[in-house]
């Protein structure tokens, strides 16, 4: 009776409860759907932004990878190249003597009017009866190409009096005109090239003398201001490479060693706490501060050269150290204590325990941290500007002590170049190279971690 009487009342209570739950369930499902929706929206936005960025960079930059080349027949006219015969080493002549003699000869060759040779070659290539003045003829070809002709001649003096086909770079302005990066409808006074040069460029493109080729020189040449069409990334790339080597050589051993000491050996007291707090703070210091420190300490105090990869490398090492220390410590902490206890229990010393058992397990973590730290350092620009690595350097650095640029600094330099029509694409091309390097480094990090983790 009690049951039957309480039956309907409980079922009513159950009913109410169920209704309440149903109502709240709908609400909770709604919240979940909203949250999921927000999450998807966030991911889509992020992807869209990255996509837009890549699309903008690539669409702007890919035209820079092909460039107009002019196939000319160059006549090494003995009347223009009026120089002595190349010096031949006499018997018993000392090295220094011969070098001096050779340099004097090279100077003489340099002073020959190579522009006249280029001009003649352009005239020869022009269609019969095409009238063009000297300035307009020279404007077609990149100014630096006359040095290349000279180098060809220096390397092989037998070229004198011969006709040789030479593939030359068209000037930046010719490239702009043919690619249409400068508005082709503008009147003469707003064009960079004279009407004659423009007409000649169009005709030569039509008859195949000018053709668009892949611009390998972006990777093999150094930066250039006097011959912008030949500007390349080689100097900046080697500069960045030296800096990354220094970062790896210094930051990895120092970072890993300090992390191991702090995590495995150091007593836990106020001092180590203080050190830990400071390392975390160091990781949060803006990179420009490291640049100022580098300028004050390494350049002013230690007298290291300005705009040299050694200083850039040291500054970036300071920047990367905290990243590596923190990442290494957290991967050491993730090693189960049982591993340590087992090693110690079997009689291993603490050092043996760390180096034989703990460290190998953490290797993937350390490697990832290193590569991500290096990738970060590779793209860092602000400190490099302060230590003068945004200087114009037209040579490949032979050692880390030579002046050099770096990839991000080179992007900054090209971005500021006054020939906007030409360098807008160049800048994007340089960004593409830098991004490709970053992606490659990150891919290596992922691959290495996968391999090492599987083995472990």
């Amino acid at each position: 009776m009690t049951i039957s009487s309480s039956g309907p009342s409980t079922s009513a209570a159950d009913e109410a409860k169920r209704a309440r739950i149903r109502a709240s369930l709908a609400r909770r499902h709604l919240t979940e759907r909203i949250f999921k929706g927000l999450g998807v929206a966030a991911v889509v936005t992020a992807l869209a932004l990255v996509g837009t960025l890549f699309w903008m960079v690539i669409s702007k930059g890919y035209p820079a990878f092909t460039q107009a080349n002019v196939a000319l027949e160059v006549y090494f006219d003995p009347e223009i190249i009026d120089v002595d015969a190349a010096p031949v080493r006499a018997a018993g002549q000392s090295d220094a003597d011969f070098r001096a003699q050779n340099l004097a000869w090279q100077r003489q060759v340099t002073l020959a009017n190579w522009n006249a040779i280029v001009e003649q070659a352009v005239r020869d290539a022009a269609p019969a009866g095409f009238e063009i003045d000297a300035r307009s003829a020279l404007a077609l070809v990149e100014t630096g190409e006359r040095h290349r002709l000279r180098d060809l001649f220096v390397a092989n003096p037998a070229l004198l009096g011969q006709r040789v086909p030479v593939e030359m770079l068209a000037s930046a302005n010719t490239d702009n005109w043919l690619k249409g990066t400068i508005n082709r409808d503008l009147e003469d006074s707003r064009q960079q090239l004279s009407a004659q040069t423009r007409a000649l460029a169009d005709q030569l493109l039509e008859n195949g003398t000018i053709s668009f080729k892949f611009a390998w020189h972006i990777f093999t040449n150094v930066d250039s201001r006097s011959a912008p069409a030949s500007a390349g990334l080689a100097g900046a790339f080697v500069g960045s490479l030296y800096m990354m080597l220094i970062v790896i050589l210094l930051a990895v051993p120092i970072g890993v060693a300090s992390a191991i000491y702090l995590e495995e050996f150091a007593p836990k007291n106020r001092w180590t706490d203080l050190i830990e707090v400071n390392i975390n703070n160091l990781a949060a210091v803006p990179s420009i501060v490291f640049g100022l420190l580098g300028a004050a300490a390494f350049i002013q105090y230690f007298g290291l050269p300005r705009s040299a990869p050694i200083v850039g490398g040291l500054v970036l090492t300071l920047m990367t150290l905290p990243t590596i220390i923190i990442a290494t410590r957290s991967s050491l902490r993730a090693v189960p204590p049982s591993l340590r206890q087992a090693a110690l229990g079997l009689g291993a010393s603490k050092t043996q325990m760390v180096f034989h058992h703990v460290l190998p397990v953490t290797l993937p973590g350390i490697l990832t941290a290193t590569i991500i730290g290096v990738a970060q350092a590779l793209g860092e620009t602000a400190p490099l500007l302060i230590i003068g690595m945004n200087a114009f350097v037209a040579s490949i650095p032979a050692t880390p002590f030579d002046q050099a640029s770096a990839l991000p600094a080179q992007i900054y330099l090209w971005q500021g170049n006054e020939n906007r029509n030409f360098f807008e694409a160049r800048t994007s091309a340089a960004i593409m190279v830098l991004l490709a390097l970053m992606l490659a480094l990150n891919a290596i990090a992922v691959l290495l971690r996968r391999r090492l983790e599987r083995r472990g």
Binding site: R225, L304, H356, A394, N417
Partner: protein, 341 residues
């Protein structure tokens, strides 16, 4: 792992040893300074490297005229630069700072001239500016009926009906640029005089600008160009060479009725031009190889002369006699002193 640790310890030692062993001799000329002179100096540096196989290509940094001269005056020695590019003359205070740091032999080289132009986007109105227009557009206080009042102008045509009916906005070089000094001297001060300040007004009124319409650009001219693109009504201040290479997107304004060009600037008709300089540290001559040859090469006809590479890049060559005198003074070892300025 042990080996890895040993290897890295060795690498560390080598790196540190290398650091210690450096201070040997630097054999590359190091230059820094004005971003106006930078393109010209870079072109010469590159050609110098190509023409003199025995020397390295000089390294050219930027940092503005003031920044370059500050580095220049840090002292004598391989850690300091050899040449400072400047788009204005060195100041007495800078020479004193140099002397205090032990740099006494400062050789001044004037390389040619540069014009400063006002330009707008190509689809904007035509500007025929007078210095007074610019002064009235940007000064914080302007004289109206003999009294100084807060600048009342919002559109150019309110200043002068001949100017376009568009809001006033200007992008001018910040004070780290040498260009700023010339801008103030030749444009705003000239305009200030033309406007006729009431008796007893402080001279400072000539160079106190209102901040709402004036953007000071600390970076280079591409930043000014970007301003013009984001706010098309902006009038930008550029060097002639930058304008020359971007004639397809920029339209130049006449100043006092003269259109800036190589000819009008060389003849002195166009009012806003200035000489360009670089300063050589005499103490480094003979220590850093190639310094003397670099100066001679820079001033040679094929570079700084008429029809030379720098003219093609937009610099206005100085008359040949002037250049010869500069070279003679350099070779004669004439150093500049604070009381000459």
């Amino acid at each position: 792992m042990k080996y890895a640790l040993h290897a890295s310890a060795i690498a560390l030692t080598i790196a540190l040893a290398a650091t210690g062993a450096q201070a040997q001799s630097r054999d590359t000329i190091q230059i820094a300074g004005s971003s106006t002179v930078l393109p010209f100096a870079s072109i010469v540096a590159e050609e110098f490297g190509a023409a003199f196989p025995e020397y390295n290509t000089p390294v050219v940094g930027s940092g503005g005229s003031g920044g370059g001269l500050r580095q220049f005056c840090e002292g004598v020695g391989e850690g300091t630069i050899d040449i400072a590019n400047s788009s204005r003359r060195i100041r007495a205070g800078e020479v004193e700072a140099c002397n205090a740091a032990g740099v006494n032999d400062i050789r001044e080289i004037q390389i040619g001239y540069d014009g400063i132009v006002f330009a707008v986007g190509i689809d904007q109105g035509d500007f025929a500016l007078e210095p007074e227009h610019v002064f009235r557009a940007i000064a914080a206080e302007v004289p109206v009926d003999g009294a100084m009042v807060a600048n009342p102008y919002t559109n150019w045509n309110e200043i002068d009906p001949s100017l376009p009916d568009q809001p006033i906005a200007l992008a001018i070089p910040a004070s780290n640029h040498g260009t700023r000094e010339v801008f103030e001297e030749r444009v705003t001060h000239a305009g200030c005089e033309a406007a006729g300040l009431p008796e007893g007004t402080d001279e400072a009124a000539c160079s106190t600008f209102r901040q709402d319409v004036v953007v000071e650009i600390a970076g280079d001219y591409t930043e000014t160009l970007a301003r013009l693109q984001s706010n098309p009504a902006t009038v930008g201040v550029f060097g002639l060479s930058f304008y020359d290479q971007n004639r397809d997107t920029l339209k130049v304004a006449t100043v006092s009725g003269v259109e800036p060009s190589l000819e009008t600037i060389a003849s002195g008709e166009y009012p806003v031009s200035r000489p360009l300089y670089f300063y050589v540290k005499g103490e480094h001559i003979g220590v850093i190889p190639g310094l003397e040859d670099y100066v001679a090469f820079f001033l040679s006809d094929q570079m700084a002369g008429m029809g030379g590479a720098l003219e093609a890049a937009g610099m206005i060559p100085a008359p040949a006699e002037e250049t010869a005198a500069v070279l003679a003074a350099f070779e004669g070892g004439e150093a500049i002193t604070a009381d000459q300025l």
